[in-house]
Amino acid sequence: MGKDIKRVVRKDISKINLSVNIAGILMKNPVMVASGTFGYGEEYAKYIDLNKLGAIVVKGLSLTPREGNPPPRIVETSAGMLNSIGLQNIGIDSFVNDKLPFLEKFDTKVIVNFFGDSIDEYCEVAKKVDSVSGIHGLEMNISCPNKKEGWLEFGTNPDLAFRVVNAVRKNTRLPLIVKLSPNVTDITVIAKAASDAGADAISLINTLSGMVIDIKTRKPKLANIIGGLSGPAIKPVALKMVWQVAKTIKLPIIGVGGIMTYEDAIEFMIAGASAVQIGTANFIDPASSEKIIDGLKLYCGQNSIKDINEIAGSIAI
């Protein structure tokens, strides 16, 4: 009897549709791993079956390699961590030549996260990968200063955000996701600018700006003084922003910020996200994303949900 029930449940679970289509990127489930928390994939291949992931968003890449910030670069905080890695990366060419072949062996989507110091640099990177096979989408990190024009962060000014996204749009045919910075007065204004500029999807949020001080030495604990806060501490902030943006624009939203469990992921989807990214949780448990995928299936089974897409934006207000 008990066995029969189990079999029925399992049969039902196998029928549940977890696949999602984000801006033309068809993923087997809505669980992606976030940029900067999963290296170039191979760092985690030993701990998790990469074939199970909806998508891998690789460590942010720039036109040329970046050295990053001096250490100390990380510090633990209450239910989170602060980092100031400084976008250390091997550069887009090394990624395509040395890292992409490994990722191509897996049945998952590869999304290139990238950034630049100027609009031209963003466009150069986008152009370079436009016809590279094995790359299924782009995610623009616009939380970088515009070094050519006054050092203002692209992501904190709607006009700049529009210009950089619009310029990149003209240089790529790949699905274009724009990752927003939460360090703004009104996230919906920036989201709308990105949408108007031709983005295909929005991921939010990037890390929250913060700092930590050592009271013995009175020195900041990061060499860079300030850094980006991530982990469960920022989840309520991220959730609110996903909800706000989902009400404002029509593009699919990818929720990211402090997701540790499948319950967290479901919360983001109810708030309006069509997919989620797992970030800092990868550091705590390399198998987090796999466990979250299993949890989503279980949740759907238990709640008679046949298609995960039914959850997105189902908030009861």
């Binding site: 900067g36 928390t37 999963f38 290296g39 760092e43 985690y44 030993k46 701990y47 460590k59 390699p65 050295e67 990053g68 001096p70 250490p71 100390p72 670069r73 990380i74 510090v75 633990e76 905080t77 209450s78 239910a79 989170g80 961590m81 980092n83 890695i85 250390q88 091997i90 982990g231 469960p232 540790m260 800092t280 990868n282 550091f283 705590i284 448990d285 390399p286």
Partner: protein, 297 residues
């Protein structure tokens, strides 16, 4: 992976305080599918299932049980030493025999022992002795016929901070001790002892070319040892202790600056020959053991 705690006991009191703070502990684990670690490698320990503390704690492996070749998929084990210095280690000190905790490892690149060395010189400060016990045991194990001489310099604040001297004596190493307050051995640091030894015995007692230095301790101690080694043109490996988030080379949080991009000439470990010249290396995957010439301490 889940590890079962077989033992968690105090091995020394650093301070006279009644709290756990500063006390030294030894923890022994049994762990499914734990592959045989090499000396100098580490594990990332999740001290509990809450988000406070949030990150795993990197811990050097102190002893590796030398069973007959462990079958793949068999039960492995390891021991660590730790000092209670904060929230994470305080929680660890409360764990009991039979408790299960989540462990990731073994991780990183450990020490590499060159063939045909006649003398290994070990310099350790405080809790930095931990990986040196595994290292010297390995040297004894693999070089039984070679009669490699092992000389150990241990330093600490007081006699309470001098750990593991019996471990070293048991394998026939010559042990020299220094304490900052003079309560055991010579007054001073392990670097002072090491420096005197190197300078005094430079000409006659040993052949520098067939000797190697291994050091683990606070970074300024490692720097002092590396400077002396460079001055005397001796091979030197240092094991670094950094705050880490992932332990797997993904977060790039635990980096150390490289000394020279042309590094790789003198190094006997082919793996560390230069592959990807970058200004920073990850302590967790490129290290935690580095050739002292490789990095900027």
């Amino acid at each position: 992976m889940r590890a079962i705690i077989l033992e968690n006991k105090i091995i020394g009191n650093s301070s006279l305080l009644k709290t756990r703070r500063d006390k030294y502990y030894k923890m022994r684990f049994s762990c499914d599918n734990f592959s045989v670690a090499s000396p100098g490698q580490f594990v990332m320990i999740r001290v509990n299932n809450s988000y406070d503390p949030f990150l795993r704690r990197p811990m050097s492996i102190y002893r590796i049980p030398h069973h007959p070749t462990l079958k793949k998929g068999g039960r492995g084990g390891f021991e660590i030493l730790y000092q209670v210095v904060g929230k994470g280690t305080n929680i660890m000190s409360e764990l009991k025999k039979g408790d299960e905790i989540d462990v990731l490892g073994p991780l990183g690149r450990g020490f590499w022992i060159p063939e045909k060395i006649e003398r290994a010189i070990i310099v350790a400060g405080g809790i930095g002795v931990a990986p040196m016990v595994a290292l010297t045991e390995e040297i004894r194990c693999t070089m039984q016929d070679a009669r490699c001489k092992i000389t150990v310099f241990i330093g600490g604040k007081t006699k309470n901070d001098i750990l593991c001297k019996e471990n070293f004596k048991k394998i026939g190493a010559k042990v020299h001790i220094a304490t900052e307050d003079g309560s055991m051995g010579k007054k001073g640091t392990s670097v002072d002892l090491f420096k005197t030894f190197i300078t005094d015995s430079q000409s006659s007692i040993f052949n520098r070319q067939s000797s190697i230095i291994f050091a683990c301790g606070p970074q300024r101690m490692l720097k002092a040892v590396a400077d002396i080694a460079r001055d005397k043109n001796m091979d030197c490996q240092v094991s670094l202790d950094k705050r880490m988030a992932c332990g797997t080379g993904a977060c790039l949080g635990c980096v150390v600056k490289v000394r020279s991009l042309e590094f790789g000439v003198r190094n006997s470990n082919p793996q560390s020959a230069i592959r990807n010249p970058q200004s920073y290396k990850c302590v967790c995957t490129d290290g935690p053991v580095f050739d002292a010439e490789e990095i900027n301490l």
